[in-house]
Amino acid sequence: MLVHIDLDGDRPHGASLAALAAGRDVASSWGATLYAAVIAHDPNEKGIGPIESELARGGADKIVVALTDAPITPLWAEVGAAWQAVLDQLRPRVVLFGADAPATAELAARTGARIGARLLMRARAIGIDDVELRDRDGGYARASDGGATVALIGRAGPAQPGEDDIDVVVMTPPSASDDRIELAGTVAAELVNAPAIIALGDDVCAEADVAAHAKKLAALLGAQLVGGPAAVRAGLVAPGAVVDRHTPLAPELCIAVGAIALDLAGAASVIRIGAPGGKHVAGALPGRAATVLGELVELLEASP
């Protein structure tokens, strides 16, 4: 069982640590060895000792460090060759990614294709003795299943603390950037391109409770608040986050609060609050928006 570890500066990314925690639960239940794999530059240059300690405490049985000369950017063209070498060396049956880790969008599906795996989106480990991976749409992987699985972990409980002193395997695959793709620059994305948005209808913006709960929910989900003219007047959304019924929106997740018309891509998961659900929604809570939002925030804050 292999967990891909993205780095956030000089530390493992939080989403990758969540994947590692889920992996620990599953590996312990299935009797598997849990590898955590990091793609990095020369370890002597920046030092990966602290990363190794954190991964060990996070539950890894073994750590694989794949060294590459390519820039560590979330692009298959840059880190794909090194990652492929890790896959070919370990031949894992299960590969886990943090659902919100930077490289997941580029690496996960291709990993699945390479090992012929089923793909679980936004999954978690559930169960006590017989732990299984289950995604938010009902897909699952169990110890008794045949075949390989790639799962994007969206949630994990507390990690079982591991030992500080574990095996570290350093690989130096013949990896380099794929010169068919060249990174030319990076700038900040517009606010309406956020991966998760909370869209506030004009009818609810004047309610102080809605505003407070919406801000808390946005902080929990890493979401961007968007809305119309009333939301701007209320100071709830930034100027670059104003939307109307024709603004094209393609987030992974949209929570629409109150009466707001949005032009959402079909790929978006939508939760409606304070309004009827309609077609293609993942959830709908049509009660009073402030009350429902408050309950939702409370439950999410209490979740592990």
Partner: protein, 224 residues
């Protein structure tokens, strides 16, 4: 560069706007681009109609199969080879399952890949793309065989005429592509539970918990 745009195996979930955007992008990049789709007759007719509206040709693989990301990637790879396409755009915004097909298709045809592309233009014999990477936009230059997942919107559209069967669509049979439906069926989409909306706060919270960001503080709590 010969360009195909994979429109998917089912009609868009909410709006054809992103389908139109993918087709318009393909038309802008290559006048000889071809819109490619697979699935039932109603969807093939709609896809062909929107491709005609964008001014490009279309090809369809008629099939009743319901496959996972890897199964469809095999179909698209075979169809792209048959059409001589060296670059494939994928409309990854119209349905949730489509994004995974980008990497799977790239693996099948040995191409480079880009996901989450929001702008695409010709650039000195190659392509220049802008893609979302979390809170950032990366600008990249692409050369050679590539699979590119696009999320580029077309014009807003409240209604569109009911599509009629399009005789100009090129039909690609699975057998003629070298694919055996009974073998492909091994990648059939597993049966899932019902997809009715969650209607209680507890169920919605359980769903959203999969999206809660793991911050440094929360991670530290785990390790404690």
């Amino acid at each position: 560069m010969t360009l195909a745009v994979w429109l998917g195996s089912a009609a868009p979930a909410r709006t054809v706007r992103w389908l139109d955007g993918a087709l318009a992008t393909a038309a802008k990049l290559d006048a000889g681009a071809i819109g490619l789709c697979a699935g039932d007759t109603g969807w093939l007719d709609l896809a062909a109609d929107r491709a005609r509206h964008a001014g490009i040709a279309s090809a369809g693989v008629p099939t009743e199969l319901a496959l996972d990301y890897l199964g469809w990637a095999q179909v698209v790879a075979a169809a792209a080879r048959s059409l001589g396409a060296t670059t494939v755009l994928v409309d990854e915004a119209s349905r949730p399952e489509r994004a995974a097909e980008v990497g799977a298709l790239a693996e099948q045809i040995g191409a480079v890949q880009l996901t989450r592309v929001i702008e695409l233009a010709n650039d000195d014999g190659g392509l220049r793309a802008k893609r979302l990477a979390g809170g950032l936009v990366q600008t990249v230059r692409v050369r050679g065989t590539a699979v590119i997942g696009v999320r580029i919107a077309g014009e807003p559209l409240d209604e569109y005429p009911t599509p009629v069967p399009n005789k100009s669509m090129r039909r690609l049979e699975l057998g003629a592509l070298g694919l055996d439906p009974s073998v492909l069926a091994h990648r059939a989409l597993p049966k899932r539970g019902g997809s009715s909306p969650r209607k209680t706060v507890e169920r919605v919270a359980d769903y959203l918990a999969m999206h809660v960001q793991v911050t440094g503080a929360r991670t530290a709590q785990r390790g404690a």
